[in-house]
């Protein structure tokens, strides 16, 4: 059964930083969908090129928020969060999807209220899934972890080996 994951900007950018955006196309049964608002937030030319390539290759899919329920929630969420975040959360909450987002604090609190903690994935959750499906090794994932630390994204464990075992 396909599991739809609405994907926020920060997760996409993290995967672009480590050059592994195509991983999203390999993590079955997950299907990664990206609202137009999120696509619009990625403007750096090299990041944009990687994103376009992933769209063309079908690793990620565009999604439109257009149900009345989702639009209403989108409007409410816009008071406290950015367009991309509001679009992801409105869709996940009204369509029963998962969400991939590294946002903390306000966003995470609201996301837990709306969809529950178990439906929120982070960059490390996706890398862990990739390890379990043997798309990447623990050593590679640990290198990615270090790369992301240089981009000011830190994970709260010392090695992916701690999570796998």
């Amino acid at each position: 059964m396909t599991i739809v994951i609405v994907t926020d900007t920060n997760v996409l950018i993290n995967l672009i930083h480590i050059g592994r955006l195509p991983l999203l196309g390999a993590l079955e049964p997950y299907q990664f969908r990206v609202p137009r608002e999120v696509l619009d937030e990625i403007r750096e030319p090299d990041q944009r090129a990687a994103l376009d390539a992933a769209l063309v290759a079908g690793h990620i899919e565009r999604v439109v928020i257009d149900t009345i329920e989702a639009l209403e929630l989108f409007g409410i969420l816009r008071d406290v969060m950015g367009r991309g975040e509001a679009a992801c959360l409105a869709l996940a909450a009204t369509a029963g999807c998962y969400i991939a987002s590294d946002e903390k604090k306000r966003f995470r609190r609201r996301a837990i209220e709306l969809i529950g903690e178990e439906r929120i994935l982070r960059t490390e959750s996706l890398l862990l899934e990739a390890i379990r499906r043997q798309h990447i090794s623990v050593a590679e994932a640990d290198v990615y972890k270090l790369v992301l630390e240089t981009k000011r994204y830190t994970m709260s464990f010392s090695s992916f080996a701690d999570l796998v075992s």
Binding site: T9, P35, R36, E37, D40, E41, V64, I65, D66, T67, I68, E69, A70, L71, E72, F74, G75, I76, R78, D79, V80, M81, G82, R83, G84, E85, A86, A87, A90, E103, K105, R106, F107, R109, R152
Partner: protein
């Protein structure tokens, strides 16, 4: 109860029509053709979140307003459209209004998130009959300015930071790009509060005058919900009244008189007095030294500097208060226009702008301050903070640096 697609479409159409926009005009910023807009309004086509966001911006609303239990057909923008039928054709002005409303709404939202009660900042209002003549309009404007100064405890002192003063009176003041013929505008409704906007293109002192002018509309014409101050309407009685208010508010008559007297000027060149001792009168005559009472350009520069006004408006004020006659006024005006005023002001270290911060800074400071606080209290996300900062011209990198400096990243 969940809205139907048809009802959402009806509300979009109602908001569009009340703004006097055609389906093409609404569709353009939303990236939609006339046909698509027609289908959305008829409820036969879905509208996406991005399209609805842009539609809401175009009609000066936020998305939530379309889903409210009771849809408010009337708002600040529709009030302006009602008073100015050709607004939809003035693209630049329309854009400025849309930007202003978006800023006003976000400011209201930040205050709500931070539990700031604007009801504690009630804005004064004066009820006056409409002026009948220009003279009447001037008298009304001057009278209300004097009363407002008294109410604010300003006495005859210079006003200082006008943006801050307005804020303390429950009036938001911002600066956006306006068409060349528009100096400012006033908007007022429940979602944005009382909001005055002045032109970013005008020099600081002109903006200061415009702020005072718009403040007059806030105090006197708030029942109109919105007012646009256009150069071509400066002879309209309400505009004359607002200008008279601004002049008196920024340079109060008694303050100007005292300032001029402190320069040892402004007295008549020949004064006569009779001292009566119940039997006979003794005539006393005092003659000032020839030319000693004449106002010079450096006096104008000092007066302008003192009150934070332009030299030219100070000169007009002196003329209206009869400190200079028509001949001297033209002499001084020609000197000013030839650049002499600027040179003298520089020599006196009395530049026109007496240390005032710009209106943009006033508004931006408060807006960003509230946004930072909302972010620190985890009321908004970082992405929302970045969007808000972008609305007042901050770049992404500046936002990153600011958050890092505030230890909020």
């Amino acid at each position: 109860m969940l809205l139907t697609k048809e009802e959402l479409g009806r509300r979009i159409r109602s908001a569009r029509e009340r703004c006097g926009l055609t389906q093409e005009q609404l569709g353009e910023p939303a990236g939609l053709g006339r046909l698509a807009v027609g289908q959305i309004e008829a409820g036969t086509r879905s509208v996406s979140s991005i399209e609805l966001d842009r539609i809401a911006y175009a009609v000066g609303r936020d998305i939530k307003s379309f889903f409210a239990e009771a849809f408010a057909e009337q708002d600040a923008l529709t009030a302006l459209f009602r008073s100015d039928g050709g607004l939809a054709e003035q693209t630049e002005l329309l854009r400025a209004l849309q930007d202003s409303l978006a800023l006003g709404r976000e400011m209201t939202n930040l205050e709500r998130l931070l539990a700031i009660d604007r009801a504690q900042l009630p804005t004064a209002a004066y009820e006056l009959r409409a002026p009948n003549t220009r003279w009447d309009a001037i008298q009304q404007g001057q009278k209300i300015a004097a009363e407002e100064r008294q109410r604010l405890g300003l006495g005859i002192a210079p006003v200082g930071e006008l943006g801050e003063l307005l804020e303390s009176q429950g009036v938001r003041a911002a600066m956006v790009s306006l068409p060349a013929n528009i100096s400012g505008l006033t908007l007022s409704d429940d979602t944005i509060g009382v909001f005055v906007v002045v032109s970013a293109a005008h020099p600081e002192l002109r903006r200061r005058f415009s702020l005072a002018h718009e403040y007059a509309h806030v105090l006197l014409d708030r029942d109109r919900s919105g007012a646009i101050s256009r150069a071509e309407n400066r002879s309209d009685l309400l505009e004359v009244r607002a200008n008279a208010f601004a002049a008196e508010f920024l340079m109060p008559m008694d303050g100007v008189i005292q300032f001029v007297q402190a320069l040892g000027k402004g007295a008549a060149s020949r004064a006569q007095m009779a001292v009566f001792d119940e039997a006979e009168a003794v005539q006393v005559e005092q003659r000032a030294a020839p030319g000693s009472q004449e106002i010079q350009l450096y006096d104008v520069a000092l007066l302008a500097h003192h009150f934070g006004a332009s030299r030219i408006s100070a000169l007009y004020r002196l003329k209206n208060l009869r400190f200079v006659d028509e001949r001297d006024f033209h002499r001084l005006k020609s000197q000013e226009e030839a650049g002499a005023g600027k040179s003298i002001a520089e020599f006196l270290a009395a530049p026109e702008l007496s240390g005032g911060q710009s209106t943009r800074e006033d508004f931006r400071r408060r807006f960003l301050g509230l946004a930072l606080e909302a972010y620190r209290r985890e009321e908004i996300t970082q992405s929302k903070f970045s969007e808000l900062a972008a609305m007042v011209g901050m770049r992404r990198e500046e936002v990153r640096v600011a958050l890092r400096s505030a230890k909020l990243d």
